[in-house]
């Protein structure tokens, strides 16, 4: 918390945006994690697993990439990494105390559209800065808590029908994390698919009719040996990062040492990592700002399309994801032009889970993508 507050101060003043807000920042309320995680292992202190870390960072830079699915061995730091994310996330501006984390525009649009409501002047709306919410969706969650429901206490005590927002509301403009996503109950998967597709959550019940924005970056993790993911849900994830046991002794010794140091005195350890954490956060913010200036040559786009076609990927989500991810990756590298070099680095992440599943296939998905990439690149060079 102290960290975020500090970070909050820094970023908002760096942006030189509304000094009054910068002052208010230390009191920033974490809407989602207020009571949940006290301390998390610092993101920048996590050894290895670069694929997962990069995927998460790219999704912060551009949430439209569509989330990450992290699949891999047990005990390799999947959930530690995702839970560590909150501390390096930049701040967002929302309408003050808005339970749906809406921007001023979203707020004005939704609220002035209501029956009998007076027009709202955007200038009058108070705002605040909050860290990007990271919401944990536990496996045992019930549908009413996910979507929101009547406030039971108010209803019992005063008979008022008030809407109590659920996890989807909390995660608007943030991250929704599901550990063991492959074990999630089907009815919850249905809800998620529905909301993820529309970006809206609709709750209709006698006297309650709520429609609120619910755009979130879906992050799932799991171990493929415990069960497979439903294909529709698989397709929803923009990126698919794999994670494996690190078999390098030196790295593992390093992991153990860091963990032990953290366990002994978490606060001191966090303090030690503050500089790194802030550095990363700054880099992400810079990339977010740079993103609008990034451009891509039509030729690169053609190559991407050809790659997807050669791999026999259904639909266009593959191309879209590669393009967006390549933009974000270029921005992260501080560059303003997307090249095939960028595409090469991220193609595996974007396409691995979109290849058709063929039990007879002995070639690994990653290898197949690399091979086709080499072909496309070869062709590209030949024509150039």
């Amino acid at each position: 918390m102290t960290q975020t507050a500090k970070a909050a101060k820094k970023t908002s003043s760096a942006k030189a945006k509304a000094p009054a807000e910068a002052k208010a920042a230390p009191e920033v309320k974490k809407p989602t994690s207020k009571k949940k995680q006290a301390l998390a292992f610092p993101f920048t202190a996590i050894v290895g697993q670069e694929e997962m870390k990069l995927s998460l960072i790219l999704n912060i830079i551009d949430p439209r990439i569509g989330g990450v699915l992290v699949m891999g061995h047990r005990g390799t730091g999947k959930s530690t990494t995702v839970r560590a994310l909150a501390e390096v996330l930049p701040l967002i501006t929302r309408v003050k105390d808005d339970i749906y984390n809406r921007t001023v525009e979203q707020y004005v649009e939704a609220e002035s559209g209501k029956k009998g409501a007076a027009a709202i002047n955007p200038a009058d709306v108070k705002t605040e800065q909050i860290p990007v919410p990271v919401v944990d969706l536990p496996l045992g969650a019930t549908e009413d808590r996910v979507c929101g429901t009547i406030d039971i206490e108010k209803a019992l005590t005063s008979g008022v029908k008030a809407f109590e927002p659920g996890l989807l509301a909390q995660s608007n403009r943030g991250f929704l994390y599901i550990d063991e996503v492959n074990l999630l109950d089907d009815h919850l998967v249905d809800v998620l698919l529905d909301v993820a597709a529309s970006g809206k959550n609709v709750v209709e019940r006698e006297g309650i009719s709520i429609r609120h924005p619910a755009r979130f970056v879906l992050v799932g993790s799991g171990n493929p040996e415990e069960g497979e993911l439903r294909p529709q849900l698989l397709d929803r994830f923009g990126l698919h990062a794999r994670i494996i046991t690190i078999n390098d002794v030196a790295k593992r010794v390093d992991i153990v040492k860091r963990r032990r140091e953290y366990d002994e005195d978490p606060e001191a350890y966090l303090k030690k990592c503050t500089r790194e954490q802030q550095k990363l956060q700054k880099k992400i913010v810079a990339a977010q700002e740079l993103l609008t200036q990034v451009t891509m040559d039509d030729k690169v786009l053609t190559d991407i399309a050809r790659l997807c076609m050669n791999l026999g990927i259904d639909g266009h989500r593959g191309e879209l994801t590669i393009t967006r991810t390549a933009y974000a990756f270029a921005a992260y590298k501080g560059q303003t032009t997307v090249t095939m070099e960028h595409v090469k680095e991220i193609a595996g992440l974007c396409l691995r889970h979109r290849l058709r599943k063929d039990p007879l296939e002995t070639v690994d998905a990653g290898e197949k993508i690399d091979r086709e990439l080499a072909k496309v690149l070869g062709e590209a060079e030949a024509t150039a």
Partner: protein, 618 residues
Amino acid sequence: MIAFTDIVGMDLAKQALMLLAVDPSLGGVVIPSAVGSGKSTLARAFADILPDGTPFVELPLNVTEDRLIGGVDLEATLASGQRVVQHGVLSKAHKGVLYVDSLSLLDSSAVSHIMDAMSRGVVLVEREGLSEVHPASFMLVGTYDPSDGEVRMGLLDRIGIIVPFTAQNDYRARKKIVNIVMGTRDREDTDDELRMLRGLIEAAKEQLSHVSMTNEQIKGLIQTAISLGVEGNRVDIFAIRAAIASAALAQRTEVDDEDLKLAMKLVLVPRATRMPEREATEEEMAQDEPPPPEEEQPEAEDENAPPDNPDADAEEEQEETPDMIEELMMDAMETELPDNILNISLASKKKAKSGSRGEALNNRRGRFVRAQEGEMKSGKVALIPTLISAAPWQHSRRQDKKMSGRPAGALIINKEDVKIKKFRDKSGTLFIFMVDASGSMALNRMRQAKGAVASLLQNAYVHRDQVALISFRGKQAQVLLPPSQSVDRAKRELDVLPTGGGTPLASALFTGWETAKQARTKGISQIMFVMITDGRGNIPLKAAYELNAEKAPKEELEKEIEALALSIQADGVASIVIDTQMNYLSRGEAPKLAQKLGGRYFYLPNAKAEQIVEAALS
């Protein structure tokens, strides 16, 4: 009640529990042991050596989700008009022990919740309008009988200590146990011993932060983990904690060889997926997936690394295991695995335990897990959840004019309030593939057979069915893949299937039947055998356990197979026999087998994969 100190034998399990008492961050202790070995008595006696007032919660196997996680206490809520929250079992075990007897029989959704709580140290309650966080940092003590099935690896991964499996058979020790049960021991002695033990543990707890461990020792444990093929990096930390706790118990300030050996024995060896001597092949190293295209962005790496990496210079010596460590490791292995290397291969196989996706929620059968919105006609109404969901609306509904005719005291329940019970039941079909890998098959059409199996697997994936893979060659059949949904694994096993040797057909039938029976106890009702063979069994059942028993008269062989086949048919297992025999060689064994099994027969060269799939599913 038998006290901790009165229990005879099971020294390793006792040691394990003491380590846990010293350092609860070890997560827990799992004790696999045969029936009647006193494992649950020991686990319950664990409370004796913990400080007074430590919660000890026993988890019933049939626990429902709301009891496990917690939820709204209806009675208190209605009485007080305020939402009253009831803590679940997980949170009741906070700062204490959660004990599960028959851990391997625990429902997979309950296992998932326990795993979740263990990784967070809290329970997130997001249900029925509640959003709360309850502390739930507990030690898990689990006992189970391995013949009931294995514990999910994901859960074991969060538990620090796994006591190596030993069958207790020492009759003198048993006699002593009996004496204690009969009450021949002096109560006072027991009390004194317990007091002493508790004092020892308290002292060890204080000692814990003073114990140091050298870099070499840490490296040694990690090296061991790698050479045993232990999955994940979490185990390293458990091993180190166990070694330190062991040193603390001995009131030492430095970890010594004995501590390392104990840590290997209790933490690393039980998770081995391979024998250490053998150089791991590429494939095994990659295990599930080949290593990612790890072109690590050196830039990102540098930035993420802390400025001072204390271990950068140690890198060059990483490859060699110090001799001392290797010796210790072999020592730890030998003491625990005298002539039983099977344990190790078992560990590598149980990874593929059936995916819980094979279970589906339904409205009629299985075990009640939760209540959910639904039509009254579509299932059994869950009364209390329906009342809970109706309660908050009563006030406003009564003010509604349409309802004014109702008597004052009556509850007004709408269609939308109705919750029906959801049950968890394994669904889908279990396909048990039995692939004949004998010498004659190598001649025949292994490739085609593999193709047919592959398309069936593909289909099983789409239909969320489970698959198991049994191969038979040489002396006996072998379960390559226990019932699982991991089509990938089945495929991989099939790819590397060696061929050669005799055809132990009877053993295959027997093993398949056993697998089927086990699946039944887990709720899978539909089972189908898919046998890919020429039907020419030539090895009797007894060859599996008797030396020089590979030969048997033809009549005996036939009798065995017939008896088994008829029993399997009577047991309601459906079968398909895919004949791989060359036409001109066939003496009609495979059709006969199909007939005895009451199953369908296909001749492979004619059978298209799609036809087989169709037949299997019809």
